[in-house]
Amino acid sequence: MTNHWIDIQYSDAMLVIGGNPAENHPVSMKYVQKARDRGGKLISVDPRFTRTSSKADIYAPMRSGTDIPFISGLIKYAIDNELYHKEYVVNYTNASFIVHDDYKFKDGIFSGYNEDTRNYDRSTWTFKRDEDGNILKDETLKDPRCVWNVMKEHYERYDVDTVCAVTGTPKEDFIKVADAFCSTGTPEKVGTIMYAMGTTQHTVGSQNVRAYGMLQLLLGNVGRAGGGVNAMRGEANVQGSTDMALLFHIMPGYNPAPTQSERHKSLAAYNENETPASGYWSNRPKFMASFFKAHFGDNATPENDFLYDYFPKSRRNNSHIALFEAMYDGDIKGFITWGQNPIVGGPNVRKEKAAMEKLDWFVCMDLFETETATFWTKESGADPSKINTEVFFLPAAGPYEKEGSVSNSGRWMQYRWKAIEPKNDSRSDAWFVHNLARRLKALYASENGPIAAPFKALDWSFGDGDYPDVDLVCREINGYDLTTGKTILNFTQLKDDGTTSSGNWIYSGFYPDAAPGEEKNRSKNRDNVDTGMNNYLNWSYAWPLNRRILYNRASADLEGKPWNSNNEVIWWDNAAGSWVGHDVPDFGAATGPTDPGWKNPFIMRPDGKGELFTNGMTDGPFPEHYEPYESPVPNAFSSVQLNPAARIWTGDYNDKGDAKDFPIIGTTYRLSEHWQTGPMTRNNKWLAELMPYMFVELSEELAAEKGIKEKDKVIVSSARGEIEAYAMITKRFRPYEIQGQKVHHLGMPWHYGYQGIAKGSIANYLTPHIGDANTMIPEYKAFLCNVRRAEG
């Protein structure tokens, strides 16, 4: 989230798309309702009439996988009807930049495409520069090659009629959404976009989010109270676990993970190739050196390049799907899971289960015996005698049986204190990882040589007790001034000379300036007095630097005054010579009207502007519509059917469905009473009673066509497999008319499995191994299927 939950109340229009907060983030509806009480409009766009839709002022149905046409239609609508926020667009975005002469787009393909590798060379997705390297601009937006006009031309094809033919949205509903949401393109009004996995779980998932970002920039809604682009995350700490880089492609704090490449062959090469000349990332070498000082401790010195060479370098895609493909191919011998249950939650479960059966050993740490823990049992459909995997199940302590912080969607880092000792003989994950590290340290102690060396160099100083000292972990994450031994004030103090450390620079500042033994953990802050505009600056700690609204310089106009006096975030105080207000400025606090960066609110970007045109995506500088991997219709916008940069996996179990055999669009969703793959809710007697069975939700029309009645047992099939479920027939799904053709849509929850009290079929037996071109997030949300009554 650029903003936070409580801030939603300041919104004049809330576009909820690809998410269903009334069901999945129920308490957030408090603030949606507050906004409505003040006259704000709730807009729900979803393939299914959800619980959020039932509370909405406007509902628009949209076929799963057509966010880009829908949002592009809104972009064109805002441009054509001059509903955009002109001053914001001209000054705070790159609308005026002149695009490279060789940039082109033709029939679904951008310049630089290589068909054989399915990759783009992005060198033309850039800007024209003068001899001094300055980007050429036309602030009148008249130059035909400025971003504004190139963008206008790109979206010319996304007229309301074509868009509605593709999305299946009734035209009058689309116009209602467009009028309501684009009405926020003025300084007086502000709108927010709230999304979740309905947005990201597509082969164009990242571009879906980017389309939202572009629309928000056009309407001048980023950086403002009640605005922003807000990911409603699914788990209590999926924000924090991402920040901490439990993902192959990043290091803690979003530095790219080094790869086996010329670009990254040494620390000097890495810093040279990954550090822009301007923008906040120009500090990258300081973050890197400080990270390695935390990672390797005293062993890292400027002379040995902070042991950069010892840090692992990846040579391939290691993302979720690739990981299971590699496991299936026998490359992965040992596997450890920490509270994750891929046998329910992974795509194409049949393949992922077959992959696990090839492991030599598997360690599963969880609160309950999950489907993944028991992948080898008869109940899972396996023959245990044929599976040679050694399996270790480690009972994990529950969330209030240990202490530490979690970061919510608004980046609030909140502390959870320990209420009771771990149940039974369970231990926290921290205890296990700490003791495993100590065992391994002991095993390697007497070994020398190049294999032992990198591990022996790892610093592991979390106390001598049986339990790790969480406070020491917190200090290490924050970082130290190594010359004084105190924790560092914040990341602005980090250096690249080895005198500072920080395990995760974006969190640096949550534990500031503390001498040993002095407790200053700001995630423990519990002062609930509103410090202004409901930002609660003394409750918990929000990274970076306790900012609650990212890019908040954009909440003020060219003179540094709030765009709207009812919606103040920060403003320039001429007398004081600094930015002041209700939030920590996301800007140089003393950057004033005569300073060069005054009109550059997007400080992480080298040029300080919001990107309507970008070089940062693998699959295009503008979002462009491609159909899902499995789709019943041809792409109406070009002759290119699938995202041309999406990686396709072939081989065993990776069959692709055809609309002839599987004419129905399937999607998955969550229920209020269950959570993710279900171990913590399907084992809960109260929640299991509330939502006991797996079902598939069908429209009345589809049920009638198939002769299915309410509560019938039905079989849902896809090219990957079949599952059984109860039929739930509702008016919430309706047949879609897509390009003149009737298309059915169905949906089902993905929480169920064969363990726990509430049991049911695993929906992900149906979903494919294909992912987004940028993030490789699987396309769970749009696949082809069929449905029939179960025999007998």
């Binding site: 990981l323 245990p384 050694e390 209420a419 990882v433 495993l436």
Partner: protein, 188 residues
């Protein structure tokens, strides 16, 4: 600069809370009724936590008495939820009181159709041995003249349900061992 605020957390004792409730009673019978309800949880130790489910981050108070979780409720002081919770957040007590949590670490031998209960020490020794054996036999120090120091034969997955400190420690150990297959829920 950072200052300790007046409402910095102090572990509340139920006894103190109950005394305060009685002092505030006065003679209003409605208030007395409300207080009587509170007294059921008197003498409990109350600890604030954050809901382990979705990312709204609602505050929850856990009441512990005689080494058992006797009650849980929405934290009225929490600025986001102000005491309210959804069905999942309301049910967190059962995470402790349930009898469905495994009692001991469990081991399944190759080809076996059952778990055997084991001690933590045994598990840790065996897992450390497996990790070392797999790492050492697959570790690549250099490739194409570039120091790569990695093993692709071990994969780590998960962390979104854990705390920041745990996530940091896991990534540290896994990268310290040379893993590149490090993934979790955020990807899917």
């Amino acid at each position: 600069m950072f200052e300790v605020s007046r409402r910095q957390f102090l572990k509340l004792s139920g006894a103190t809370a109950a005394t305060l409730a009685i002092v505030e009673l006065g003679f209003d019978p409605h208030k007395a009724k409300a207080a009587a309800k509170e007294l059921k949880t008197a003498r409990t130790d109350v600890t604030p936590t954050i809901c382990p489910y979705c990312s709204v981050g609602c505050g929850i108070l856990i009441h512990v008495k005689d080494n058992d979780v006797v009650y849980s409720e929405g934290d009225p002081d929490h600025p986001i939820n102000q005491g309210s919770l959804c069905s999942k957040g309301s049910s967190v007590r059962d995470l402790y009181t349930t009898d469905r949590r495994p009692k001991k670490p469990m081991y399944r031998a190759p080809g076996s159709d059952r778990w055997e209960e084991k001690e933590w020490d045994w598990m840790l020794d065996r897992i450390a041995e497996k990790v070392k054996e797999t790492r050492d036999s697959t570790f690549v120090v250099n490739e194409d003249g570039i120091p790569v120091n990695r093993t692709e034969a071990i994969a780590s997955m998960g962390g979104a349900a854990l705390e920041n400190e745990e996530c940091y420690m896991i990534q540290k150990l896994m990268r310290g061992l040379g893993l590149t297959f490090i993934e979790h829920q955020a990807r899917i």
